[in-house]
């Protein structure tokens, strides 16, 4: 072991992920703050940013597709069943298998990763958006029609705002799911918090890196969930206005 190496981490370093500079790290104690400090810049922070980007892109694309499908199924009931069948089918494919299946036609790249992640958001988002749109009371829609709203005006001014709580509920599940799922993207595409988690597991495991990277994935999920809750509270003040 390279125990003789000076502990001066401030020197010019070519990041060597497997070289644990401190004695704490060398002895693989539960958590070494100095390792995290010295590897934050080169390892953890980039992995976190990649993880956030993977999640955001997947949820955004998944949301756009699900919203279109839900609006279609809302207007035309026949569209619900095939959409549900297809998205449920996607949802049931084991994630590792899906990642590998996509590599053959697409390659080990960002497209394969995002296609896989998106396919796991569809069922959750489609179901929640459709439930939200259908939960709008019939008399509210009758009033909207009777006052001369166009279907588009009724959708934008009445249906979507009233469906918002259900839509946000779907987004919360989707975001937390994708943050967790994105940790195995490393198997086909070398990005995200899965990379340090995987390398930590390969070393015994290396506890500090495992706890740091795994903990960041958990904190990211909690933070994103909290952000969505706060956004919903801001956007739906009427849901808290009960009684006098």
């Amino acid at each position: 072991m390279l125990t003789a190496l000076p502990l001066d981490a401030a020197g010019p370093v070519i990041p060597n992920f497997s070289a644990h500079s401190s004695s704490c790290a060398v002895q693989n104690h539960l958590f070494c703050v100095d390792w995290v400090k010295s590897n934050w810049g080169p390892v953890l922070w980039p992995a976190l940013r990649q993880h956030v980007l993977l999640t955001l892109v997947a949820v955004a694309i998944g949301f756009a597709i699900s919203m279109s499908l839900a609006l279609l199924a809302h207007r035309h009931r026949w569209a619900e069943r095939p959409t549900l069948l297809f998205t449920t089918f996607l949802y049931t494919i084991p994630s590792l298998a899906l990642f590998e299946l996509l590599v053959a036609p697409i390659g080990q790249n960002v497209f394969a990763a995002e296609i896989a992640l998106v396919s796991y958001t569809l069922l959750i988002l489609f179901r929640n958006i459709l439930t939200g749109l259908r939960s709008v009371p019939a008399e509210v829609m009758e009033a909207a029609e009777g006052m001369g709203m166009t279907p588009r005006q009724a959708l934008l001014r009445v249906e979507l705002p009233l469906a918002l709580p259900a839509i946000v509920a779907g987004l919360r599940i989707a975001v937390v799911t994708i943050i967790a799922l994105a940790t195995i993207v490393y198997t086909i595409y070398n990005r995200g918090l899965g990379v340090p988690i995987h390398s930590a597991l390969g070393e015994g495991p290396f506890k500090t890196e495992l706890i740091a990277a795994g903990g960041m994935a958990i904190l990211l999920a909690l933070f994103a969930d909290g952000l969505l809750v706060a956004t919903q509270r801001l956007l739906t003040p009427w849901t808290r206005a009960r009684g006098t």
Partner: protein, 363 residues
């Protein structure tokens, strides 16, 4: 697709007054049903009057109402609003000129009271200040404080308040016609009575042409300047003033529908101020007093428990204007019945809708 502000210039304000409404041989058949829902319905509602459509379930009263704003498509016939066929109008533009109130109200739960009331003015593209002024005016009209109630959400209102806001929302763009589908049907009897009185007060101010649907004949008698009684299949059984319908039901169906107590119901349409009273003759102070605004029915009810004593009728300043006794009321009722009964012998076969109903019966 039309843009949102098509009606910007010739909005509902183009109608300064209520408009006359006329249904001409209106017929509605739903596909797959052999019997029509509405059969050759013709009736004319003069501008500024309340026409109540009443009938048992299956009589098509709600369908008839929804034909007017084209929520339901006509099969044949025509509907004229202010002399112009509704079929010539773009449905959504037409609906913005027709106030619409339904039993479940359908307030938008995610919008404040003020935003709810502003719905149609927004759709018509009114400028902000005009909308705000109109909302405030309407909230005052329905007796709600704009400062306090405007920013509330529907969930923070009582049932009666919600119903009032629903009416205010329908009135927002000053439509020439209002359609009201059992608007007080979901309200408890005491509040319903208050809301009915309030609406009559409101109607006296705004003078809209109103089509009011109910299954409750008592509500119809109270609210209607005219009542159209429909029977199953959407056939018009009788169209006349409440007084005339109670005095001369066109047939057994109408007589049964208005109830065996129609004689008493009629008395509720006349107040003591409308009848000839006995001269006051210095009765003792222990005589029961009754307001001249009370109905003859109420006076009769009081007399029945007054142990043969007369009632002293008092005006707004509590001055005795006259007396009524049981035998005097009996005489009045008999006289009125004689006066009304004679023409029925001539007119009994003809369609009630063709007869000129005369001035609205409610005092």
């Amino acid at each position: 697709m039309q843009t949102e502000d098509t009606a910007h210039i010739e909005g509902p304000s183009a109608y300064a007054q209520a408009a006359e409404l006329e249904l001409r041989d209106v017929r509605k058949c739903y596909p797959g049903q052999r019997e029509p829902a509405i059969s050759d319905l013709s009736l004319r509602v003069p501008a500024g009057e309340v026409c109540v459509l009443v009938g048992p379930s299956g009589s098509g009263k709600t369908t008839a109402m929804r034909l007017i704003n084209r929520m339901v498509a006509l099969t044949s016939g025509d509907i004229l609003l202010g002399g112009r066929s509704v079929l010539e109008r773009e449905p959504r533009e037409l609906r913005r000129e027709i106030g619409y109130v339904i039993q479940q109200i359908g307030l938008f739960p995610h919008q404040t009271v003020a935003e709810n009331i502003a719905t149609v003015p927004h759709l018509l593209g009114w400028p902000k200040e005009r909308v705000a002024a109109r909302v405030e005016e309407l909230l005052r009209l329905i007796g709600l404080d704009p400062e306090e109630m405007g920013p509330r959400y529907p969930a923070q209102l009582s049932g009666g308040q919600r119903q009032r806001v629903g009416v205010a929302r329908a009135l927002a763009a000053d439509p020439p016609v209002m359609l009201m589908d059992e608007p007080f049907g979901a309200i408890d009897p005491i509040n319903r009575g208050n809301l009915q009185d309030e609406f009559l007060g409101l109607q006296a101010k705004v003078r809209k042409t109103v089509v009011f649907v109910t299954h409750d004949i008592d509500e119809a008698i109270k609210m209607g300047d005219r009542i159209a009684i429909l029977r199953e299949g959407g056939v018009l059984a009788q169209y006349d003033t409440p007084k005339a319908i109670l005095a001369r039901p066109a047939d057994d169906f109408v007589a049964q529908f208005v109830g065996a107590d129609r004689g008493i119901k009629r008395l509720s349409l006349t107040t003591l101020a409308d009848v000839r009273l006995l001269a006051p003759n210095g009765q003792g102070p222990n005589v029961q007093r009754v307001s001249a605004r009370a109905s003859v029915k109420d006076a009769l009810s009081m007399l029945l428990t007054a142990h043969g004593e007369p009632l002293a009728v008092v005006d707004g300043d509590d001055r005795v204007t006259g007396l009524v006794t049981l035998s005097h009321l009996e005489r009045l009722i008999a006289e009125e019945a004689d006066g009304e009964e004679s023409p029925v012998a001539v007119a009994s076969g003809s369609s009630a809708a063709d007869r000129d109903g005369g001035p609205p019966g409610a005092p």
